[in-house]
């Protein structure tokens, strides 16, 4: 009885130590990958290749989602606001919702699903087929050669994608609100410009997307690097990437929103 209790406590302790050790490894990993300037002649093409795969290829899903979310916001906002006869405030509602919340958050969730899972699977397979260890054997640091370009590409792509998402969403909202539901176009843009401020809304949204980009990419690349090099291990790591990234994005979003927009 007592020994099984002690076993339980020991398991808990081992679990905690594992988590802390994993966090430590993730930190050391990030440090090793990012510190030290890469040579532009080698790093540049690699970085561009990765921005293409992580950013440009995610563009389609981001644009389509942004368009639909903007259109849905316009429809929902119109039905509620027209009860108060203030449907002209629809532009301001759409812009603030997109810039402050939905732009960064939804883009980050899509990014984790579209690009993050692919990164984890790719790096995990590299590890399973011992490409990483053969690189080390040849004297090439896989952190610098494989991980660093992917990390930087994620950090750069995510804010760009979030900006494009917001713009497409605002345009989609105009499509439904102005063209279809007949809100006056002047008041759509006018109310928007009167209530949206560059420093508070646009830049804070940009900071959010940057933070989410760092979190998602870091989790994805690290999970691939740290996975158990078997097919089951890669699949578990890919699942963990999507789950951890999504939870991290939503949790960080609450913290950032409290800091940026909470009045305390």
């Amino acid at each position: 009885m007592a020994s099984s209790l002690m076993d339980g406590i020991a398991r808990l302790g081992r679990r905690g130590l594992d988590i802390i050790a994993s966090l430590g490894r993730a930190g050391v990993f990030l440090w090793g990958a990012l510190v030290g300037a890469p040579r532009p002649s080698v790093g540049g093409p690699l970085l561009i290749q990765q921005i293409y795969r992580i950013g440009v290829l995610s563009l389609a899903i981001v644009i389509v989602s942004g368009l639909f979310i903007g259109m849905v916001l316009a429809l929902q906002g119109y039905t509620i606001l027209s009860d108060f006869g203030s449907e002209s405030a629809i532009g301001q509602m759409i812009a603030l919702t997109l810039l402050r919340e939905l732009g960064p958050v939804v883009t980050a969730l899509l990014f984790a699903g579209r690009a993050g899972s692919a990164l984890t699977a790719e790096i995990g397979l590299m590890k399973a087929t011992e490409q990483l260890s053969s690189m080390e054997m040849m004297g090439v640091d896989p952190l610098r050669r494989v991980m660093a370009p992917r990390l930087w590409a994620g950090f750069i792509s995510m804010p760009v994608l979030a900006l494009i998402f917001s713009v497409v969403g605002v345009w989609g909202g105009m499509l439904v609100g102005v063209e279809w539901l007949g809100v006056f176009e002047g008041s759509y843009w006018g109310n928007m410009q009167a209530s949206v401020t560059f420093a508070d809304d646009v830049l804070n949204g940009l900071v959010k997307s940057l933070v989410f980009g760092v979190a998602c990419t870091w989790i994805a690349v690290y999970q691939g690097y740290d996975c158990v090099p078997t097919s089951a291990g890669i699949s578990a790591a890919t699942t963990r990437t999507v789950v951890f990234s999504s939870l991290m994005v939503l949790g960080l979003d609450f913290v950032l929103t409290a800091v940026m927009f909470g009045s305390f």
């Binding site: 203030s86 804010p159 760009v160 494009i164 917001s166 646009v202």
Partner: protein
């Protein structure tokens, strides 16, 4: 050749991001590059500031002439002290003008409307409005009406 195509596409991607930021700045947030320091500060005291908030607009005859910087409580008179920045170009507001809190539309945000007076002297930096009119409080108006005290 493939590498070059990729480079061009990535360049376009980054450019699209820049264009998106520019669009959000100019079209969505209506950012104008006004240089700092082209405003002067005037004060007004209100018995009830209502829902007045920083960055609310200050207008004259419906035209925006400045914005509110701060709304705070005056610890001696227990009135709301409103600090506003007026554009330096609007330098001839008569000194006996009154500041009135109005609401744009039924549910819109509150703003300060300056009703011009007839004084030959103009408000300068650091001056205070003598005459103010507080926010219209519909609830208070109705309760006054119901208890037969008339308007306030």
């Amino acid at each position: 050749m493939v590498q070059r195509t990729t480079e061009i596409i990535v360049g376009l991607f980054i450019l699209a991001g820049g264009a998106a930021l520019l669009f959000l700045a100019l079209q969505v947030s209506g950012l104008t590059f006004r240089s700092a320091g082209d405003t002067y500060t005037v004060y007004a005291y209100f018995n009830d500031a209502g829902g007045l908030a920083p960055r609310s607009r200050v207008s004259m005859a419906g035209v925006e002439v400045g914005q509110i910087r701060e709304v705070a409580l005056d610890h001696e008179t227990f009135q709301a002290r409103v600090v506003m920045d007026i554009a330096a170009a609007i330098d001839s507001i008569p000194a006996d003008s009154s500041a009135i809190i109005r609401t744009s539309g039924l549910l819109g945000e509150q703003y300060i409307d300056i009703s011009p007076g007839a004084d030959m002297e103009s408000l300068a930096d650091g001056d205070t409005f003598y005459e103010t009119q507080s926010a219209l409080n519909i609830e208070r108006m109705i309760s006054n009406f119901a208890s037969g005290q008339g308007g306030d």
